[in-house]
């Protein structure tokens, strides 16, 4: 299929016609997925035997196997997969041939590794001046930490996320800083890498030339928090609080336990004024729990301010404690309150709004004869839809398609490459 043909398909994704070579581990696999789900032809290149993230759980039915990692499944949708050993000269030549016909190379190998194989950007672009190459590494190609080893937890520590997240002393005395949910350092690195690559591609549509991008997870995490301005402009170091924003001094709590043991995030403090109290009284009164909120004294902002603790810790807390979290969430939102239930992942499968957006996708796993539900898109592209075009590739699943049909190797040559551990 040529680029022109692909683009003439009315419901192709916005990146149809774009070919991306992905040499990525946990640092960059999500970036490849972002491109693939938006229609790019992403070719994931794994070492013979498969990439090591195939060994990260959880596994299908808790049976460990490189084709059963749910983590690998999730982060590698909409990609084709080949195996290639870049440490062999045959492997390097095949890689260079693929690079000559690709738009983007995304690689997460240690700085200098590809160059040591003669596969640096300068060499690759000689045959393909339009090539965009993005190295997404933990710390970038230069600097004193460039060879440091990392992990998701390490990036969330050094990036500043952990310094902002944790507990009130009253909830957990002497609590450590707490890392946000797993994978978010990698996600953040991938979001910025995606942006940098797309900027280079947009530039290429005008200038006709590719370029090299040096991106890093550490730098991506560093601005993905909001304590910097407090320090730069006021010299403040912020304190961690349970389930709400860090702050220079204590702020009223926003997380309340509901009747079913789940929590509700209810923003009240900082918004309290007579109008808010009236609306709050209406909400609580619909369950007969307005307490003294209808008292005319609350028309006075000073009285409202003086009763902050009473309103939050008695009335709002008791109201939420009397109902299931989901009911509080919807009752409050229907009345214009910016509140939300703190939901566990499994609760999202029942979310009517997500269903209205056709968010959940059935993805076929033909080798298993089954299909599974996957999360869908962050945004609806009304003119060029997002979609999961296929489940994650099996190890070397597209070797024949890409090496023989694409590059013109014979079946015999392919067998020789396999025998010699090139693929």
């Amino acid at each position: 299929v040529t680029e022109a043909e692909t683009l003439s398909v009315p419901f192709a994704g916005p990146l149809a016609g774009l070919r991306i070579l992905e040499l990525a581990d946990e640092k960059g696999q999500f970036c490849g997925k972002l491109f693939g789900d938006l229609g790019a032809d992403v070719i994931k290149i794994e070492p013979p035997g498969g990439e090591r993230n195939r060994h990260v759980g959880p596994f299908l039915d808790d049976i460990p196997h490189p084709e059963r990692s749910l983590s690998f499944w999730y982060y590698n949708t909409s990609k084709r997969g080949i195996t290639l050993n870049l440490q062999t000269s045959d492997g390097r030549r095949l890689f260079a041939r693929l690079a000559a016909t690709s738009d983007v190379i995304l690689e997460t190998l240690r700085p200098g590794f590809l160059a040591s194989l003669g596969l640096d950007y300068a060499s690759l672009r000689e045959r393909n001046p339009q090539l965009v190459m993005c190295a997404l590494t933990s710390f970038g190609q230069t600097g004193p930490w460039r060879v440091y080893a990392a992990a998701d937890l390490l990036h969330l520590a050094a990036g500043g996320e952990m310094a902002s997240c944790g507990y009130d002393e009253a909830d957990v005395p002497n609590a450590p800083p707490i890392a946000p949910g797993g994978g978010n350092a990698w996600h953040t690195g991938c979001h910025y890498a995606y942006i940098a690559i797309m900027a280079a591609l947009v530039h290429r549509t005008a200038a006709g030339q590719g370029q090299y991008i040096d991106a890093s997870t550490h730098e991506a995490c560093a601005p993905t928090e909001s304590a910097i301005a407090n320090y730069i402009y006021r010299g403040e170091v912020l304190r961690r609080q349970t389930g709400r924003h860090h702050a220079a001094g204590p702020t009223p709590r926003t997380q309340f336990r509901a009747k079913d043991g789940l929590y509700v995030c209810a923003l009240v403090g900082g918004r309290l004024n007579p109008k808010f109290v009236k609306d709050l009284a209406d909400l609580l009164d619909s369950y007969g729990m307005a307490g003294d909120l209808r008292d005319p004294k609350y028309r006075d902002p000073a009285v409202v301010a003086a009763n902050t603790s009473h309103i939050i810790d008695d009335l709002v807390a008791d109201f939420i404690a009397s109902l299931p979290a989901e009911e509080v969430y919807h009752a409050a939102q229907q009345r214009g309150f910016t509140w939300g239930a703190v939901r566990a992942p499994e609760a999202l499968l029942d979310d009517a709004h997500l269903h209205d957006r056709s968010f959940w996708k059935q993805v076929e796993h033909p080798e298993l004869g089954r299909s599974f539900i996957y999360p869908g898109e962050a945004a609806i592209y009304n003119g060029s839809p997002w979609r999961i075009s296929r489940r994650a590739p099996l190890i070397g699943e597209h070797n024949t398609e890409i090496f023989c049909d694409g590059l013109g190797l014979s079946r015999g040559e392919l067998c020789v490459l396999a025998e010699n551990r090139v693929i």
Partner: protein, 441 residues
Amino acid sequence: MSRPRALENVRVVDFSWVRAGPWATRWLGALGAEIIKIEWPETEHGRLPSTTTPQGLEVNLNTSGNFADTNVNKKSLSLNVRSAKGLEVVKRLIAISDIVIENFSSRVLQKRGLGYRELCKIKPDIVYVSMSGYGHTGRHHHYTTFGPVAQAASELTYLSGLPDKPPAGWGWSYMDDTGGMYCVMCALTGLYHRNMTGRGQHIDLSQMVASVPLNGPALLDFTVNGRGSRRAGYPPGNRAHWPGTPLVNNYRGPTVAPHNAYRTHPGEYNDWCVIVCHSDEEWQRLVQVMGAPSWTGSERFATIAGRLQHQEELDECIEAWSMTLGKYDLTERCQAAGVRALPVQSAEDRVEHDPQLRHRQMYLAMPHPALGRHKVQNAPFKLSETPAWNHLPAPLIGQHTREIVEDLLGYSHEELRAGFGDGTFWPTNRARLPYMEDMLQ
């Protein structure tokens, strides 16, 4: 030396406010797009209220430090879009722009006569990115969010904390930052698609919905294996697994120990280091860095299984050692030996003490007309031919009104003066700022 920029000749009409939208247009601006921020002092959210105005300066529309960092690389047009004349001005601007971005509640722009269909009449190939809390599609489109609420409703909050404690959640509006990142991604993807096909489109981004795909493995564990996240030992704090609970992967990578945050010398609020050993080999390297104390020779710690099982004791022993070193010293010793360790860094640490961020020039100072010279956050990636850089300080409100109205849109100076007189470019009941008097001369 002026280098070409990736988004040269791209113009963005930016109706966004507070954090998520402005965070997006900040980066589009750094990449070279011309960002025209439409503002109105009576309905402004983002400049005020301000908790980041430097001590000693008056809190006003032009002195928020957070606004200044979030709005570099933009121009400000003060405009009453709700007036007929203001609407005409904005339509003239959209006609010569490439991208429209807004983060109002769903359908606000539509009610003002600027829905996607109207936009297409003005500029047929416009790329329009809307980013409301719940998106424009779906029954709860009118629900409102703020980072923590989007994070709660989408499960991000639930997935961090200690077992049997309330969720720790996120200490800031992660989904304002990350929602902003998705807005940039949508805008660039839409722009690329337009350049390739000639077609624009409406991209309907939702802050709450955008959070959900950030928990893929946890969701697949439920949809595939039927295992929910409401279970013993989850979430396991900073550990990969909570000792004494069933062995299940907790979605941060391999299940290993040590994998935790440890106190460091001198034990102040942010004196912590995280250490992770992904293999026996890495553990043995850590043992050497610690000076091979006798406890490390115990059979209990010789295997992954043993270290996971005896994590409480393991972590106590490691912390007894980590307390003897400063967090940067500990980091250097560990990394020199090939052990995964990094300090927990506050904002001050990153700006002042992180040698890598300093080397990469993450924070460079630039002058601001009301705030003076301060460091500003730079783009976390380096493009070799079209580097992203901060070239304009955050605008004062309405600072570029004359430039945009007269030079860009071709209105006469008399029309500008008339617009200031009739409340199109500034409320008639509000004192004009000194630079506005200058632009009316």
